[in-house]
């Protein structure tokens, strides 16, 4: 049966070539969209590793772009700001940070390990960072006061980085990399479940925390203070807080933002391209569906003679319908095969690193399934039309 259908399709190859091409290109478009959707959906399901409700960020603008150099006055003023915020009754806890969640800026480092370059993001935070963002420590411990006296530099890493650096071994107590010649060596004291700074939609990354001591004259003053508010603090607190900060440091500027707001704007930024792409793809598919219906309709009208003859020889309406749909599915399969063959080249060539094989496979399957559904939908009306062809028409045509 299938062999026969292929033969029928082959006999009209010029005509079917264009349909195949159209299905091939539609598949490629759908595949790209599906890949984005699958990537984001998969990321969204992973745990975030921190809690953002009731957390605000205070960005300190010291009117100087670089933080490679700083003065003792800047350090003292930053400490004063920190203590001012800490003593406010509305504030539950406060910590300083190099960069905060849902912010695109950050500091990145890399480490050679077994000949492979492992990249990770760094966060310099004070001890209370874990309480402010409710990080989930899964092994070892978080930073504490005793670390001031330690003869090594304590670091806390996330699970992803643990896997990359230490595999299945227990990382607690191990030396982390070769960082800091002349300085104290870094040693892992704890592991957090995760810290996905770029939010729910971004992929899992490697993260490393180092401990910041605001009293150390050698350390640069932080540019962000993250605070956890007591429940029920009204939004008007923001302008009061700004006034208090401004009173401490007249020549600096502050930008206070609830993490909820940062999250929303980052989401928007990440989703707009996908939504635009999705809308365009949806319209493209409607267009293809309409076009295909039209083309099939036309082809059925053209083949009345052939269909009439089959009816005259005793073929049932269902068999005619199956023939039209069957031919269509053969064409679709052919287009899909070429498309999949093309698409499979990318991971083989290792072009897109951040998309896992599983997501890749899902997107191929989802796109192929959509194409099949689409073609069947397009074939329904024309094939129904074909069943209405009277045997007499075939005879009286010539």
């Amino acid at each position: 049966m299938i062999k026969h259908l292929i033969k029928l399709v082959w006999n009209r190859k010029r005509f079917n070539f264009l349909i195949t091409l159209e299905i091939l290109v539609s598949f490629l478009v759908l595949f790209v969209v599906m890949m984005f959707v699958a990537y984001y959906a998969n990321n969204y399901r992973q745990p975030l590793g921190f809690e953002y409700e009731n957390v605000w960020n205070i960005n300190i603008d010291v009117k100087q772009e670089s933080d490679d150099y700083f003065t003792p006055e800047q350090q003292a003023l930053t400490r004063q700001l920190f203590n001012t915020v800490k003593d406010l009754p509305e504030v539950e806890s406060v910590a300083s940070a190099l960069s905060v969640p849902y912010q695109s800026s950050g500091s990145f480092s890399s480490e050679e390990h077994n000949g492979k370059n492992i990249e990770y993001e760094r966060g310099e935070v004070t001890s209370d960072f874990q309480t402010v963002l409710k990080l989930n420590v899964v092994a070892g411990r978080w930073f504490n006061k005793d670390d001031d006296a330690a003869n090594f530099r304590p670091v806390v890493i996330n699970r992803n980085l643990t896997e990359a650096m230490f595999g299945n071994e227990d990382p607690v107590g191990k030396v982390f990399g070769s960082e800091g010649e002349g300085r104290k060596e870094s040693r892992v004291v704890g592991v957090v479940s995760d810290f996905r700074k770029q939010g729910e939609l971004a992929g899992a990354g490697n993260f490393l925390f180092t401990r910041k001591n605001l009293n150390d004259p050698k350390e640069r003053p932080p540019r962000n203070l993250v605070i956890r508010l007591r429940p029920g603090v009204p939004a008007e607190f923001e302008s009061q807080l700004n006034d208090k900060l401004q009173a401490v440091a007249k020549n600096w500027s502050f930008e206070i933002q609830p993490l909820v707001n940062l999250r929303e704007s980052l989401f928007r930024l990440q989703l707009i391209p996908v939504v635009v792409l999705g809308i365009i793809a949806a319209f493209l598919m409607i267009m293809v569906a309409l076009g295909l219906t039209g083309v099939l309709w036309q082809s059925v009208t053209q083949r009345r003679k052939e269909i009439g003859l089959r009816r005259a020889k005793g073929a049932t309406a269902a068999r005619i319908k199956n023939q039209i749909l069957g031919e269509l599915l053969v064409i679709a399969t052919f287009g899909l095969l070429i498309g999949i063959l093309l698409v499979v080249q990318f991971p083989l060539l290792d072009v897109i690193g951040f998309i896992s094989a599983k997501i890749y496979l899902y997107s191929i399957l989802a796109a192929a399934l959509t194409i099949y559904l689409l073609t069947i939908l397009c074939g329904l009306y024309p094939s129904w039309l074909a069943t209405k062809v009277q045997p007499a028409e075939a005879l009286h045509y010539e």
């Binding site: 302008s239 500027s253 267009m287 309409l290 076009g291």
Partner: protein, 415 residues
Amino acid sequence: MLKNYIKTAYKVFLRRKFFTFISLFAISFTLIVLMVATSLFDHVFGAMPPEKNLDRMLGVYRMSMSGGEGERRSTRSGLVGYGLLDRYCRDLPFVEKTSFFTAPNSIPAYHNGEKLKLFFKRTDGAFWQIMDFNFIEGAPFTEEDDKNRNFVAVINEATRKKFFGEASAVGKSIAVDGQNFRVVGVVGNVPVLRVLSFSDVWAPVSTAKSDGYKKEFVENFMGVFLARSKDDFPAIKEEFSARLTQVELPDKQFNRLEGQAETVLEGIGSLFISEGTGGGPSQFILAALIAALLFMLLPTINLININVSRIMERASEVGVRKAFGASSLTLVWQFVIENVLLSLVGGAIGFIGSYLVLQMIARSGFIPYADFHFNYRIFLYGFCMAVFFGLLSGVYPAWKMSRLHPVQALQGGTR
């Protein structure tokens, strides 16, 4: 003859309305997407107020300092610092006016306990002469204001509404970022897409909280040079690059300075195509064209497909015309014209559609103060696109039809 073709085309379009609908849907949808993209592009790069002199402007937007070797290598990059601009870029040749200003900073302002998010830009006096703002009331601040560190500001219409409602704002004072400014002028809202002039509040450079900016080489300033004409660009670029090599860097840590005088298109283009020290803008435009062609691929195939099957329906007409001696070329010509006509109708629908889509984008607030209106440029682009699309999707089916054998065609079609 053309009149005849148009008449025939009209009859054919009416005969199978479903097919005409599909074709028009495909054409107008394709053109809507392309036109929306083009007009967004035009709103960033086109010369229109306030940046009406954009095609005579060169600017310095990015600067990077680097030093050291291998492991110890360090780089600092960002926008330009005022120190560098002030010391080395004041008197470039062939330049009529020079202006230095900061990128718009997002700052919070609090009004009656409510938070207003404002963009804040510090500019010099020349900025107001190079740009052509639409002043609703008052006037811009001047070089004198900048020199004397007067706390004056120009605000846009939206900001006036937030602070003062519908009332006049000139002479009143606003508190922004912990400083008080006296409003001297109110301008119409500037779309965020105008990268050089956009802001909510503009104040003199000298009102900065500290004068640390005067020493910086890489910070958050931009410099713009208004050339006498476009032809002077190469000379200005060359002079700028030559001066850059003579700059004495303030920090021992750094020994190399990289940056160039460029147009906005070159500046933004090289953000997308990195390492493009050579043909930045042409590569950028090429990439955009390739993307547009790729996008047009599917609609084109779709339309060719529809056209090919429609043409079979008209086989008998072709047979008759051939039998009476019409050449293949005449037939190709006729069907291409028909297709271009259809594309133009689709183009007209596309115009209306893209106008609606742009209004929707403007109203959604994704692009603050977006103010889309069609100009003759967009109209011209759209018209060219429609004709191009018509040709692209019409030539193959027409050629295929013209090759029909008259006898076979008269019989009523082929396989």
